[in-house]
Subunit: 197 residues, 2 copies
């Protein structure tokens, strides 16, 4: 059976993105770019954590994590990442609209309209006993946490207070966590928890 | 001039206490006692951080941090801590109601009705060039942060998701932080930030 992780960049006040996300501001307005700064400006220092984020055997993400458009898909949009997405594994995108699978440089995006359990079933078929990572966004991770389908939560806390936007850990109250490691790096704090069911 | 810190225990989702705080449940209902577990069950491992929390030259706290009663003071109530409060320094309690100062085993509680700047001025008179700690609760720390009166924020993140209650870091959006250390202990993560004004 696969091991399910959720790996999220958050602000100190728990937001994964600021208000008013758009194609030109995928993490929203304000200081929200600070959430991902560590991945680019301190990649060497955080190489181990970056390798873990991109080392899963399959990924699941919400549609907003794939693109800014809503409703029927804009087929010209091929994801936020350009021609070389960082996943290099099957990615299952939750959506209310159908779309044919999209293969880009070793990453295949499969669009799933059957809900979070159906996406997990498809990911398990490809991951086997490996690892499935719930890659975001906040609403998707919150849904999987609330359904008790996540084994391990990994948060990467950026040094910024956003005060609004898409918030992680909503709708999952009363959850005890077992700390299983992490470290404080110079511009980000990595915390790892097993979910106690 | 004094150095102003704010030292807070929070859940991973940013609450300092759960819903429905009362005299018999000072941290609220549910799993909220987990917020302070590290201070008692892992005191040796976290001795350095505990020493810093109790090592300030003066403290400021909101009234709810002093007691559960509201309105005019119940003079029989002498704080949550019994006859030996852990502060051993002047403590300034923000309140809308007057009360004579209360001295208990080296800790003197002075009740301040003039607002957060007046409490800070009084604390500075006693702390000199030392350290003033804003001891809580969430609303009080949020007010000092929003007013730009805090030099350093220290959060101690407990492994629990509360989902409701008194939330730290509300009303202070758009604040950049400079990480200045911290560490991941076995049951709590200590993170320290300088507030970038």
């Amino acid at each position: 059976m696969a091991y399910v992780t959720a790996d999220m960049n958050i602000s100190l006040d728990g937001y994964v993105a600021g208000p008013r996300q758009s194609a030109s501001a995928p993490f929203g307005e304000g200081l929200s770019d600070a959430i991902t700064t560590w991945m680019f400006d301190a990649a060497d220092e955080n190489a181990a954590e970056l390798a873990e984020i991109t080392g899963a055997d399959a990924y699941i993400m919400g549609r907003n994590m794939f693109g800014p458009d809503r409703g029927p898909f804009d087929l010209d949009w091929q994801g936020w990442w350009g021609p070389e997405p960082p996943y290099h594994a099957p990615v299952f995108v939750l959506s209310h609209h159908e779309r044919d699978a999209l293969a880009l440089d070793g990453t295949t995006f499969t669009f799933v309209t059957g809900g979070i359990r159906e996406a997990l079933r498809l990911a398990e078929e490809t991951a086997g006993d490996g690892r499935i990572d719930i890659a975001g966004g906040a609403q998707t991770v919150n849904q999987y946490l609330a359904a008790g389908l996540v084994d391990e939560l990994r948060v990467h806390i950026a040094p910024v207070i956003l005060g609004g936007g898409a918030r992680l850990l909503e709708g999952v109250e009363g959850t005890l966590l077992e700390p299983i490691g992490g470290r404080v790096a110079s511009t980000v704090a990595h915390l790892r928890y097993r979910i106690v069911r």
